[in-house]
């Protein structure tokens, strides 16, 4: 079966997105570590190469300076002027690392290394076999011009950039391979829903229209109850149909935002769900104050319908559904089954269902989240297992 892409089918479940993000974080982290390791190795190798080039010159200078120290040693007291050279600075230390004389600009010496770079100064430590003037260590110092460093950094950035791009390309390729099975399964499901949704419309409209025109007064009580149950079931299916239609078709439409009187809208929707709530013998508590919101009415209806239908569907028999409306907040609560704390994070995921006893595809709260995110409406969920759920929208 071929699977086509659409905006609706491109979305991944949050848990799947999390897996993908973790994979990418791990991958990017490892690539960064690899690049840093390569850069450090390359830089250190470049530095060693530069120092080995300097070593040849400094060795020669050390030989010359040792000869001068030897001469000074033999004529000491007659001559006390330390030999100087314009090509380098030098210092002499005894075998206890005490300074005898120094012309160095960087006085900290690492006697364990023959040659090293510190604070843009190259130090060369020569150990003498004969300690002229008590000199065990002759230290030569030259300035580092830093040209090699600039060259190395330029190469690191250039090669590092190329390697980075290569690994990012590879990462995107691997990520696509990683999510392909998930995406295929979601696309298949979406495609199936889209196809079947079209087939639901006509029979559903016929059922609801016929129930509407039936004369209940001439019916026996027993039949009237049966018809009410059929009506409630048809409303549930109708709600599902509207959600699916919204998912597959309507969310692509441009918004028609306007100021909406939420009290009026809530009263309409409560009336719509009245049959459904009566079928479950639910009572309704409302505390409505005048409130308005600027958004697309179709989308607000989807939000309210889904929250109300969940509050009804997952309620216990003879339970209560409550609605509290204030300017800036709308709370819909129930005395139903509630959800576990660890399930709260996933409750807005598409196709996520915690209770299989009720029908549906698990798309309702996903639509709610989708719309509230679009309008920057905050959702707060308070739920206690077997006691009920309270969902508050804040805008």
């Amino acid at each position: 079966m071929s699977v086509s892409k659409s905006r609706a089918t491109n979305s991944l479940l949050r848990s799947e997105r999390k897996s993908l993000i973790r994979f990418l974080q791990l991958y990017v982290g490892l690539v960064i570590l690899l690049l840093i390791a390569l850069a450090v190795i390359y830089y250190e190798a470049g530095k060693r190469f530069m120092l080995s080039e300097q070593r040849a010159d400094l060795n020669q200078y050390a030989y010359i300076q040792t000869k001068r120290l030897k001469a000074l040693h033999h004529y000491f007291d007659e001559r006390v002027t330390y030999p100087r050279d314009s090509r380098f600075r030098s210092a002499i230390f005894d075998n206890e690392y005490h300074e005898i004389f120094s012309l160095l600009k960087q006085p900290k010496i690492n006697f364990k290394q023959e040659i090293y770079l510190k604070d843009r100064k190259i130090h060369f430590v020569e150990t003498l076999d004969e300690f002229y003037l008590g000199t065990r260590y002759l230290v030569l110092e030259v300035d580092d011009d830093g040209v090699w460093s600039k060259l190395l950094w330029r190469n690191i950035l250039a090669y590092g950039g190329v390697i980075w791009l290569f690994f990012m390309g590879l990462g995107i390729f691997l990520a696509n391979r990683f999510v392909k099975p998930m995406r295929d399964s979601i696309m298949l499901l979406d495609r199936f829903i889209k196809d079947t949704t079209h087939e639901l419309n006509t029979p559903l409209a016929a059922i609801l229209a016929n129930i509407e025109i039936m004369d209940l007064s001439t019916m026996q009580e027993k039949n009237r109850r049966k018809l009410e149950r059929i009506n409630a079931a048809a409303i549930t299916v109708s709600l599902l149909y509207k959600d699916l239609t919204y998912l597959t078709l309507e969310q692509e439409h441009k918004n028609k935002d306007e100021w909406i009187d939420i009290v009026t809208l809530l009263e309409e929707r409560m009336d719509y769900f009245r049959v459904l709530s009566l079928s479950r013998e639910l009572s309704c508590q409302t505390d409505l104050e005048r409130a308005v919101i600027y958004m697309d009415q179709r989308k607000l209806i989807r939000v309210v319908d889904n929250l109300l239908s969940n509050a009804i569907k997952y309620n216990k028999r003879n339970g209560t559904v409550g609605i509290i409306l204030r300017q800036g907040s709308l709370t819909i609560w129930d005395t139903g089954i509630g959800i576990k704390e660890e399930q709260k994070e996933m409750m807005f995921d598409r196709y996520m269902r915690f209770e299989e006893s009720e029908g549906g595809f698990g798309v309702g709260l996903s639509i709610v989240k989708n719309i509230t995110d679009e309008y920057r409406i905050k959702i707060e969920v308070v739920s206690k297992l077997k006691e009920g759920t309270r969902i508050t929208l804040l805008w």
């Binding site: 040693h73 033999h74 000491f76 007291d77 006390v80 002027t81 330390y82 005894d94 075998n95 206890e96 005490h98 300074e99 005898i100 004389f101 004969e130 300690f131 002229y132 003037l133 008590g134 000199t135 065990r136």
Partner: protein
């Protein structure tokens, strides 16, 4: 009479002079062709640092052997090896300390 006075004066000077170094080192080394300064440089050339030099000097003063001497073969062949010093520990250390301070290179180079 004058000679006796000078001799007594000289003896008194050496016996009661200022420090152990003057009393026990300088007096004998006056007679040698190699100065104490040059000998010090031999020590520096072989032992380098202050502690090493002082330890080597002390060891040699107590046990002067040819194979541990810093002096050249020609010098040793001509003048031989000195006698072990019969100084107490404190006086020997004082003499070596003064010797080090007198000829050390630290701070004298310009």
């Amino acid at each position: 009479m004058v000679k006796i006075i000078i001799a007594v004066f000289t003896l008194t000077f050496f016996v009661w002079s200022d420090n152990a170094y003057e009393r026990h080192c300088v007096s004998c080394h006056r007679e040698l062709p190699t100065s104490l300064q040059r000998m010090f440089m031999y020590y520096l050339e072989i032992y380098s640092g202050e502690k090493s030099v002082k330890v080597a000097l002390k060891r040699y003063m107590r046990n002067p052997f040819r194979d541990v001497s810093v002096m050249p073969e020609l010098f040793l062949d001509t003048y031989g090896i000195k006698q072990p010093l019969k100084l107490d520990e404190r006086e020997l250390e004082e003499a070596i300390e003064i010797y080090w301070e007198t000829y050390q290179v630290h701070g004298r180079l310009k």
